[in-house]
Symmetry: C3
Amino acid sequence: MNNESNPGRSGQRIPNGMLQDNAPRNMWWIAAKGDEVSDQPLAKWLHNTPIVLYRLTDGTPVALDDRCPHRWAPLSEGVVKDDNIVCPYHGMEFGADGQCRKVPTQKIMPQNVCVRSYPVRESGAFLWIWMGDPESITEDPVDMSYTSDPGWSVVTGYYEVEANWVMIRENVLDLTHIAFLHANTFKQNDWVNPPEAYLEGDTVVYKQAFAAAPLSPLFCAGMGLPEDKPVERVQEGRMPSLAVSFSDWNVHDPAPEEGRRSDFLMRGCHIVTPSVEGKTHYYWAAAFDVPDIPDEVAKKTKASIIAAFDEDKALLEKMQSQISCDPRGMDYPEITLGADSAGVKVRQILNKKLAAEGRNL
Amino acid sequence: MNNESNPGRSGQRIPNGMLQDNAPRNMWWIAAKGDEVSDQPLAKWLHNTPIVLYRLTDGTPVALDDRCPHRWAPLSEGVVKDDNIVCPYHGMEFGADGQCRKVPTQKIMPQNVCVRSYPVRESGAFLWIWMGDPESITEDPVDMSYTSDPGWSVVTGYYEVEANWVMIRENVLDLTHIAFLHANTFKQNDWVNPPEAYLEGDTVVYKQAFAAAPLSPLFCAGMGLPEDKPVERVQEGRMPSLAVSFSDWNVHDPAPEEGRRSDFLMRGCHIVTPSVEGKTHYYWAAAFDVPDIPDEVAKKTKASIIAAFDEDKALLEKMQSQISCDPRGMDYPEITLGADSAGVKVRQILNKKLAAEGRNL
Amino acid sequence: MNNESNPGRSGQRIPNGMLQDNAPRNMWWIAAKGDEVSDQPLAKWLHNTPIVLYRLTDGTPVALDDRCPHRWAPLSEGVVKDDNIVCPYHGMEFGADGQCRKVPTQKIMPQNVCVRSYPVRESGAFLWIWMGDPESITEDPVDMSYTSDPGWSVVTGYYEVEANWVMIRENVLDLTHIAFLHANTFKQNDWVNPPEAYLEGDTVVYKQAFAAAPLSPLFCAGMGLPEDKPVERVQEGRMPSLAVSFSDWNVHDPAPEEGRRSDFLMRGCHIVTPSVEGKTHYYWAAAFDVPDIPDEVAKKTKASIIAAFDEDKALLEKMQSQISCDPRGMDYPEITLGADSAGVKVRQILNKKLAAEGRNL
């Protein structure tokens, strides 16, 4: 337990640390959507750290501490000039490696003037950042290239959620809540029996087949299916990293209309990155293996997904707020169900990763 | 002193604990007005605890911890179905006794799945709750039956006050402030000499007679008296519990008009229940021993009382905010006057009750 | 380091204590502009202390603790009557010396009923207050008489800045930021080489001459100069107290129009007084040695100064907020440049004064 933040004893058998800084640092997290980052500065809080993102003239993304080492002004309030970021306060300039290139008010460059530069990788529509020990980078970030593959149509969205990231992670890995929390939006009320999840290395996976039933209206439009047509469904969940998980909706239409495909895939993607204490950047993507979905279909799909995810956001924020305010905090009984099979594995991986960093919940 | 919240040393000779959780638990407090609670869930923070209130089909009120023991969602966001409350997140159902009745995603009921159920009693227009040790219930809550007695006309109101409950308690038990804080609303400027308060068991009481003078316009309408007519007044205060106090205005008209009553009673009632830290549910009731007061009279009475009580709310909130913000906190001189006779007894009872719970201010 | 507020270890070689209560008490600070204070109460938070200011009938300013010693109500919510301030709650009256003069509800005056009265001095347009040990008053406050001298035209403004006062102090004593932060407002882009500052006693001073160049449009109007006319400039900075600093713009027009003055002075003045934790009262004054500047010129001057100072406020508040939120807090590298010559002396004086009060950053 982190005594400083004193979140109280835990009624959780495997703690998820939701009232403290519980995010491992030695792993890739998603910093931004690639199209958010331009040749001018973008400020982001990532893991309680102010970060400034921008692109060099050749498009290379850069991530620096958003805090000038002179008098601590946020560099993101300045501009990028000739690939250097210029501090808004006294005009000091820093390169992509974080080294100071210019101090306008003097000729002598003081020693060791730099800000921390963070490793960044771009994959598909997303930018990954490594905020832990750079020596510990032993793996590539999860491949997101499908999100910029013209064979897919991808609808994305973003929320700043006032809840710890692990609550979102547990939410999206136990989809039995669809039948209850989303009864009026997803309208996919057959997901009541939970799948058994298992580990492939550190990847959590599960797979479940559903008998023919009308598909959730959230995804019918993208697949061009009528909302009342029974289709078969195989659901595959996969969390290759605490930062990102996928939920594949493999849909089989047993009686396709003349000239229509019988099989479709919608790959749901849930991305979480801790922001400031108690807040999380949450990106989602719904990718259909259908090229060139018309704009109005994408727009309709996005609106219907947002209506559903708003329900998650509202509930998770209420939970976080209530648990934070309740003096019992984490010291409250917690019952684990069969449906928490994947969520429990999330906590196991979380605790293992934190232990490897010498941190324990 | 509670060192955790560290409110600072106290300049108070008898501390009232206004900057900390200073409310005894082993007593009845008012949870809600009865008519707020229906067959669907109502969320309330009581004593820093999220509580959900609802009624069974037969009208019986129920109070449960508003926190599902599975993943800690607020039950109040769900619905009541067949007298059970259904968790909004994964559909678990709980009975009035707090026991889990159903887990939709599995056939086997895990052991010990329950939320805490709190004893509740209804009396007149109000619901009482016992949030301490249920084994310690040795008395009934204060009888509020007059508030639903057809012989009385009762006007009520509610404030969420951003001040500790004991400040409201001390406010309503030293009514010499009427002549100053409420000079322009109560217009009852003869209450300058304070009454001597005494204890009858743990009930604080006082009684004071006032010479003929025009009655406060707040109460004239309810009694059908002109605002300029001199009437005699005997004021009786009574606090049978820290949770509730009464202020009886016994009015005698020495020269009633033909066919009119000469004596009236207005029973003021002040109810406080701690909400979250630093906030208090404050219910008030003004009951006239006059049946069937017309709606427009009740409406006018309510508006004029609100105008006066707004003055208390504004001042008490400013006091609480200022004392909280001032680094000297409780470590400031406090002079006690004769007018604090009742207020001091409130503190004595408070300290005695807390000591009995092993807590000290 | 102040362990209570635990701002973290400091990367600063000379700490400025910007995340804690870092203001010396044994010195004069400015409490208000004189014209803010009338014969009725004015509430101000000064040095984390609620203060009430008012004037006696003869105009003498008074400063008292804004907290009644009876039940801690803010006296500033009351009224002043016959030179005494009347508590809004129960009508107790206090004189300018803080002694209680009247308790309306009783004949016997309790012993030692008083609030603290603070020494106050008026100088020019401003009121000074001494909040430390009154025995330590060994000097007069800085003379501000020029601000009410008819030989000057004075434009003033006020901000509540959500930043520690010392950040404003450092800001106004390193004006090389004009060329960067204010590039679009001051348009005085020749201030890139910093002056060397030195100490005259505890007064920080610097002086710097600038070759002929167009004057900042902020000050042209006040001097009746065209915005494109090159003029010579000698800049003199002076901080006689942590509470107030001056920046003199001595302007010489080498080719004045027929009948026009060739020399002008604009005295900038920057006044800071800590308010509540993390907030600062910031008064500024721009005084021209030109009598009777027309209203429209004063108005235009004020608007253009505000446009520039808004830039400081926005940046300083972002810095304070970001540094407060960043768990690294003060434990971040800090490089000092030649341009910080005056700012470093501010910190030296600050640390010396705090040490004299037995406090250390």
